[in-house]
């Protein structure tokens, strides 16, 4: 099964969903992301959904759950890049994405997340970083 890649961008994690996910793939992303937050100590997660042509209730719930899981792991989540037609459809469908913060662009989303702290600049969690990252 294909997995959605999770990139470490400084003190943040970045996920860009570019494919039409089936349900197990969405659940795998949830698990992978929880694991990476815990591993890296990331304080912020950016999820770029500009590649998604629609959001149904399953994907909507997955996004809400990711935000909830991240919060419990002391990280904030911002979902960015929602297409206008997707927003219209979501509202008609009756999905409210509880607990999910959204921003129009990656830049605005990054501004909503916590800045790097001094100890993160020292990279004290780099040892936990997987070797493939560098």
């Amino acid at each position: 099964m294909n997995r959605i890649p999770i990139l470490k961008l400084g003190h943040l994690l970045l996920v860009s969903i570019q494919v039409d996910m089936h349900d197990r793939m969405a659940l795998a992303l949830q698990e992978d992301l929880a694991e990476r937050i815990s591993q890296t100590g990331a304080r912020g997660v950016l999820i770029d959904i500009s590649g998604l042509e629609f959001i149904d209730s399953f994907i909507g719930r997955m996004l809400s759950d990711i935000a909830g899981i991240a919060r419990v792991l002391d990280a904030e989540t911002v979902v960015v890049g929602m297409r206008p037609v997707v927003a219209i459809t979501l509202v008609d469908l009756g999905l409210t994405l509880p607990g999910v913060r959204t921003a129009l662009t990656v830049e605005r989303g990054m501004a909503m997340l916590p800045p790097p702290t001094a100890d993160e600049d020292l990279g004290d969690d780099e040892e936990a970083e997987d070797a493939g990252g560098r």
Partner: protein
Amino acid sequence: MRRRRTLAADEGLPLRNDEDVVRARHRVRELAQHAGLRLVDQTKFVTAVSELARNTIIHGGGGRLHAGLLQDGARQGVYARFEDDGPGIPDIQMALTDGFSTGTGLGLGFGGARRLVNEFEAKPNPTGGTIVRVATWR
């Protein structure tokens, strides 16, 4: 009463697992584009189909999707018909109520899907299970 024609009837797409839901989305996206639906209506239709296809699998125990084009004079549209193998829905009106769910709490049930399409019909299948049919016009 205008006469409607149903075009491009197909052999149907099985709905058994979550990859079939993805196939269903792609199939109706193509049809919706072919029917000339506006992007927002395409998106709504595909989203409704995604919800209903998942319903068919989770609550209906699997089934089939038949989808095709509609023609009404110069007007074109697209339809999708879901036939499940399940026990049938005891109270279809109740199932259309927002927030109603029999299962895992996944999905928004029929209510959400109904708001995304022009036509929505749910009825018992004479051979068992439920038939749900949706359509959207250009």
